[in-house]
């Protein structure tokens, strides 16, 4: 039950090696570069975070276009994604809960 919390915290000081997504196909939205297109694989996080993300239509299998990833480009600021005609600013904390993979070419 407390798994998300430990995870969320350990990400604050950089991405841990132990996490299987590193270098693999699945990674958090936080690390998706500007201009890329990704597919949502899983949504992590506590219930209130989870529900808010799903309410905006970011569900498993949803395709996201990253308009701007300020985290990678500047080290601060939100990630702007576009999905099904809607633009969403995702804070860095939230973005670390959304697991994505690159679209198959």
């Amino acid at each position: 039950m407390w798994r998300w919390r430990r995870r969320g915290r350990s990400w604050r000081g950089g991405f841990p090696e132990a996490y299987p997504g590193r270098g693999g196909e699945v990674f958090p939205l936080l690390l998706a570069p500007t201009g890329s297109r990704v597919i949502v694989v899983e949504i992590d996080g506590p219930p209130f975070v989870h529900d808010r993300i799903i309410a905006l239509g970011i569900v498993r299998g949803q395709e996201l276009e990253i308009i701007k990833n300020n985290h990678l480009d500047f080290g601060l600021g939100p990630i702007i994604v576009r999905t099904s005609g809607m633009e969403i600013a995702v804070g860095r904390g939230m973005a670390s809960y959304i697991m994505v993979k690159h679209e198959a070419k």
Binding site: F48, V49, D51, R52, I53, I54, A55, L56, V59, I67, K68, N70, F74, L76, G77, P78, I80, G85, M86, E87, I88, A89, V90, G91, R92, G93, M94
Partner: protein, 731 residues
């Protein structure tokens, strides 16, 4: 088996059996509210939140196959049952599920019917709303779901206008973002207490069909059927004319086979007759008329915008984490500068004054909106006072007219500020400012959305408190308690008068003003920090507010949408805060003109002055003399009404006209550090009545604002003493 089937061959016998099961479950229900709406409207989500139940949320149409009956989860919600009915696009059933919904409404006759309207696609979900109002007038109210999301999709809905047009209450909610839910729950609990009958204004004229409808509606059979079902007889006739054969089956169950047959004959005959004369099917006509009305409602209350492709130039600016926040600040300060100049002349009057045009500055100040209003009410109050004379004259002149004038003098400011918010909000700029500013406010336990209320606080705390409504519940409490520390224009007037009177170097003056603003903002941030660290931890709320914000398409403001926003919010302010401000100003009037020996025109003998003397120990640590300390305490007490009164009340004690300005202060002997620490106290010590009233109205709670009052007074005096201590060392 055949006799158990309805005319269409559906297994309708299942409905009555289900209904029986439901009736057993409803034994303890004092008030039943049926929830209906089109599929995917968000019914299950809302139902689960309202009842605290744990049904799953599925994503395909008609996810609710069975009935759900649950009790409202809210204090005072015991005995209020919510009935979640299967989703349906129409009350003219086409599937067994939709039959169940319709049957429930006419067999069980719930006291109220909550119809859900999808804010994302109002066109699709309005049909059921219209039919429900036609069928059960007086018992239907509308809840708009996903209202928060609509803006992100470029959809604007005028909720107040919709309510007025249809004549039924409309409550916008956003279930997952926890917005409007409390309003809805309170509305429902109120329903049980008051049992109001709504008066829908909706009445569709069916043109050439009216003749037949009127004739059949007057038949006794229809009236009996209407009484049995609780549905409007006109709607029953319409549905039967539309070809709802299942309704005859219901009729045979409810009013007996014989009467049902006569009813059937009547309808069939009328339909044949109509077809012969006009060559058209009545059901087509009915649908056409309903859709014509639907289109009319949508065109009047809904505005839509489409999003352009790609990243626009403005978006690119806001996406930059350094240019974005600066641009946001610039836009906010510029718009507030214009608004406040129109309203009170500030800060244009001060700039002109300093630039060497004192005449022009004075002109702007007296010809601003609130200047003109206060002049008018001053004259009115004065003449009323002279006309009646004595205590009654004072009550009417100083108490009532002043109180009304005070509420009204807020109105232009509130209107202008709401106009600015509406324009910024409608164009989609607020969302962009919010996310670009998020990382600046994040460490203090706020999200970027709080930028707006905080900046607005510089103008006036009252609309700032009201504008926290857009925030989530957790963040809102933090922002709500931070906003009153931001020095507003009223406090600026006091600050400027004092600094002008006691500091003669303009550089020192401006430094002092700047320092006071910094202290105000620091107090605000300190409060949010304290709340986010201690209060939230106890309640299990997150310390940091995560940002997840829908960004609406950028477009030119639509004046219709702006007007809806301004109208709704300012009337809300007048109703809620206005009454409290009015009564509080009468109480303060009483305290100022009544002494221990009854009515007195000498302010220094009044109850307030006595209270000031009693409380003057609070200012003793500043090293003030006996005389100064009680007078300043008295001024602080009076400042509760509005911070600018601090100055005016000093004038009253000295027997000078209120417009004397900083020359009032010439009678006082104060050192620089005393003046500064007094100003720190004035800035922070408590929100004015109007702000406090707005806080009470917004929190719907008296305890928290009162607790906050104590906190702010303590904080003010601690900071005041501290600054006196530090300054007397330095100077």
């Amino acid at each position: 088996m055949r006799q158990n089937r309805g005319p269409k061959g559906n297994k309708v016998h299942e409905s009555p059996r289900l209904l029986q099961r439901i009736a057993e479950r409803e034994k303890n229900c004092g008030l039943r509210i049926a929830i209906i709406g089109s599929p995917n409207v968000g019914k299950s989500v809302l139902y689960n939140i309202l009842t605290g139940g744990k049904a799953s949320i599925a994503n395909w149409p008609g996810s609710t196959v069975e009935y759900h009956v649950g009790e409202l989860k809210h204090p005072g919600g015991k005995g209020i049952c919510l009935i979640d009915l299967p989703g349906t696009y129409s009350l003219l059933p086409t599937s067994p599920e939709e039959e169940v919904t319709r049957d429930y409404l006419i067999y069980q006759k719930p006291e109220y019917i909550m119809v859900l309207l999808d804010a994302l696609s109002p066109e699709k979900s309005l049909a059921i709303v219209i039919q429900a109002i036609e069928a059960f007038p007086g018992r239907v109210f509308i809840v708009v779901t996903k209202s928060q999301l609509a803006h992100a999709h470029g959809v604007h809905i005028d909720f107040a206008g919709l309510s007025k047009l249809l004549g039924v209450p409309v409550i916008p909610v956003s279930a997952l973002e926890n917005i409007g839910l409390r309003d809805l729950k309170e509305f429902i609990t109120k329903l049980r207490e008051e049992k109001p009958q709504f008066e829908p204004k909706l009445r569709i004229k069916y043109g050439i069909l009216e003749d037949i409808i009127g004739r059949i509606t007057n038949e006794d059979v229809v009236k009996v059927f209407s009484n049995k079902t609780g549905a409007d007889s006109r709607w029953l006739v319409l549905n039967m004319l539309s070809g709802d054969k299942h309704l005859f089956y219901d009729a045979s169950l409810l009013i007996g086979k014989e009467k049902a047959e006569t009813l059937g004959e009547l309808i069939v005959k009328a339909t044949e007759e109509f077809k012969k004369i006009y060559g058209r099917n009545p059901s087509d006509l009915i649908i056409e008329h309903r859709f014509a009305l639907l289109r009319k409602i949508v065109s009047r209350t809904v505005v839509r915008y489409e999003r352009g492709a790609g990243e626009s130039f403005i978006d690119r600016l806001f996406h930059n984490p350094i240019i974005g926040p600066l641009l946001s600040l610039a836009i906010l300060l510029a718009t507030f500068f214009i608004a406040f100049s129109i309203n009170t002349g500030f800060p244009l009057n001060i700039i002109l004054d300093k630039a060497g045009f004192p005449g022009l500055a004075g002109f702007i100040e007296t010809h601003s909106l609130s200047g003109l209003l206060s002049y008018a009410f001053g004259l009115l109050g004065e003449s009323a006072k002279n006309f009646f004379g004595g205590a009654i004259g004072s009550l009417i002149g100083d108490g009532i007219i002043n109180g009304v004038g005070f509420v009204l003098s807020f109105l232009p400011l509130i209107l202008i500020v709401f106009l600015i918010i509406a324009v910024l909000e409608d164009t989609g700029l607020v969302a962009r400012m919010s996310y670009s500013f998020h990382h600046v406010l994040e460490p203090f336990g706020l999200s970027g959305k709080s930028l707006f209320p905080l900046m607005m606080g510089i103008g006036c705390n009252v609309p700032a408190v009201l504008s926290t409504r857009a925030l989530t519940e957790t963040e809102r409490k933090r922002a709500l308690f931070a906003v009153p520390f931001i020095p507003c224009q009223a406090r600026l007037a006091v600050i400027i008068a004092f600094t002008a009177a006691f500091f003669h170097n303009p550089l020192v003056q401006s430094l002092a003003v700047l320092a006071l603003y910094m202290i105000g903002f620091l107090a605000a941030i300190l409060t949010t920090l304290l709340l986010s660290v201690f209060y939230s931890k106890r309640r299990g709320e997150p310390r940091k507010i995560e940002l997840l914000l829908e960004v609406p398409p950028l477009h030119k403001p639509s004046w219709r949408v702006v007007w809806w926003y301004v109208k709704e919010n300012s009337s809300h302010f007048l109703k809620k805060a206005g009454t409290i401000i009015f009564f509080m100003s009468i109480i303060t009037w009483f305290l100022t003109v009544y002494g221990p020996h009854g009515f007195t025109s000498d302010a220094s003998g009044s109850l307030a002055a006595i209270l000031g003397r009693k409380l003057s120990f609070a200012l003793k640590p500043l090293g003030l003399g006996e005389e100064e300390s009680w007078k300043l305490t008295f001024a602080l007490l009076e400042g509760l009404v509005a911070k600018e009164v601090v100055l005016g009340s000093l004038a009253v004690i000295e027997g000078l006209p209120q417009s004397a300005g900083s020359s009032i202060l010439q009678h006082y002997v104060l050192t620089g550090s005393q003046v500064f620490s007094f100003l720190v106290i004035v800035t922070i010590y408590m929100p004015c009545i109007a702000t406090l009233a707005a806080m009470v109205g917004e929190l719907r709670d008296v305890k928290k604002p009162l607790l906050y009052l104590v906190y702010s007074i303590l904080l003010a005096f601690i900071l005041g003493y501290l600054s006196y201590f530090i300054l007397s060392f330095i100077l």
